[in-house]
Amino acid sequence: MKNPPFNYHRPATLTEALDLLAAHGDDAKVLAGGQSLLPVMALRLGRPDHVVDIAAIDELKHIATASGALSLGAMVRHAQAETSPMVAEHAPVVAAALPHVGHRAIRNRGTVVGSIAHADAAAEMPAVCLTLGATLHLASATGTREIAAADFFLGFFTTAALPEELVTSVTFPPWSATSGGAVVEISRRHGDYAMCGLACAIDVADGVIESAALSFFGVASTPIRVAEAEAIVVGQRPSPALFAQAAEVVADVLSPDSDIHATANHRRQIAAVLTRRGLAQSADQIGIPV
C-alpha cells in the first residue's frame, strides 16, 4: 500500500497551477488535503502521472463574506471551517455538517472544496451545496466560470469540472434569520460515511414554510434533492403530521441501492426518519418546536 510514482508539482500561484492543469489535463490530479486522493493512490486504484499540490497558493485560503454570501477557498480545511465564527454565522448548515466529516485528524487535513470536487455521493458536503444552492467557482488557464451545485454533480465521483479546471472556491448564498437547517445522518459507526444522510433547510414566514430543500446523500450516484417532498411542506405550517407526510414521499421517491452496509429498504426507512428529524430540527432552529 505505497503510492505509485508521479510527477509532483507544488505551484506557488494560481496561474502556475492552471498552466499545469492545462498542460497535463487528464493525467493530473489536484492534491489539496489529500484525505480522499491519497488512500486511492495507496491502494493503487488511482495512478495519476502528475500531482498538482495546491497547498502553497495563498489565493485559495480565504474564508470571506460578500453581501452576506460566504466564500471558502479551495485550501480551507474542514477543521478551519468548523471553528470559524464566520461559517457558523453565515452558513450554519455547513457548520452543522462538518462534525460529521470523518474524524478530527481527517478534518485537520481535508478541505471543504476538495470534498465537493471529489463528489463522493455518500459525503455530506456535496449535499449541503445542493441544499443551500451553492455556487462552485472554476478556473482554467483560459478563464473562469461558475456552476450551480445543482448542475455540478453528474455521477459517482464525477462532476462538471473539466480536467484542466480547478475548483477555486465555493460560495454559499446569504443565510436568513427566518431559515432553519440541519444535517442529520445515520452511519454504521461513529465517523463513517452515512448509510443515508440529509442536509435540509427551510425558510419560514408568518409561520408558513416558504421554501424547503431536502438533499439526501448515500442513496444515489449523486446527492439528490427530493422536490416531491419539498412541495409537500411548502406553503404549510410545520407540524409532525406534515413532516411525516413528507417522509412518506421521500421513502416512495428514493430508489437507493443495497450494499454490505444497508439494504435499499433500510436506506429508504432511514431517509424517511431523517426527513422527520431534519425538518423538526430545522423548524426548532427558528423557534418553532415541532
Binding site: F6, R10, A12, G34, A79, N108
Partner: protein
C-alpha cells in the same frame, strides 16, 4: 507560510525541512513517500505505527503544527516547513512522562499497544483544547483511533486519569 514553487519528476527527490520533536531535520525524499514512512524510516522514529495505511485505524497519528493528522495520509513533501510531534516527543527531557503517558500507564490502558501512539497523540490534542472533557467527549474524540485489544474502557480511563494529573499539577 509562503512556499516557493517546486516540482520533481518521477524518480527525483525533493528536499523537505521539518522540525520533529524540537529538532530541525532535512530529508531528500521522493514526493510519493508518505510522511509516516519518512518519520519511521528516515527519521528513525518507529514509535509511530502503520496499521492500515488508508487513514482509518489512526495508529499513525502525529501532531502537525500541534494538530493531530494521519501521517499515512500525507506525503512527506506536504509537511515541508511544519513542526511535527511524535510519541517520542511527549516525555520531558529528564525522562519524566507527559501526563497523558502517565495517565495511560496508571490506568493500564493498553495491551499490545500497537495502536498506542495514535491514541496518545489524539488525547494530547484533546486535552490541550479541552482540559476537562466529559467521558462522552473523550469517547467521541478517540473514535478515530481503533484498538483491537482493550474494548477502549481502559483507554478512556487513561485520559480521565491524565485530566486528574494535569489538574493536580496546576
Amino acid at each position: 507560510m509562503n512556499l516557493p514553487s517546486i516540482r520533481a519528476a518521477i524518480g527525483e527527490t525533493i528536499s523537505v525541512t521539518t522540525t520533529i520533536n524540537g529538532a530541525s531535520r532535512r530529508f531528500d525524499v521522493e514526493p510519493r513517500r508518505s510522511l509516516a514512512d519518512v518519520i519511521r524510516d528516515e527519521a528513525g522514529l518507529t514509535g509511530t505505527h502503520l496499521g492500515c495505511e488508508h487513514g482509518v485505524c489512526g495508529a499513525c497519528t502525529v501532531l502537525l503544527d500541534g494538530e493531530p493528522v494521519r501521517s499515512c495520509l500525507m506525503l512527506a513533501v506536504q509537511a515541508d516547513g511544519t513542526e511535527i510531534t511524535t510519541i517520542e516527543g511527549l516525555a520531558n527531557a529528564d525522562g519524566s512522562l507527559h501526563p497523558i503517558q502517565q495517565g495511560m500507564y496508571d490506568a493500564m490502558s493498553f495491551q499490545c499497544a500497537f495502536c498506542s501512539p495514535g491514541f496518545l497523540m489524539s488525547a494530547v490534542a484533546l486535552l490541550r483544547d479541552n482540559p476537562n472533557p466529559s467521558t462522552n467527549e473523550i469517547r467521541e474524540e478517540l473514535s478515530g483511533n481503533l484498538c483491537r485489544c482493550t474494548g477502549y474502557q481502559s483507554i478512556v480511563e487513561g485520559v480521565e486519569t491524565a485530566v486528574r494529573i494535569m489538574g493536580a499539577q496546576q
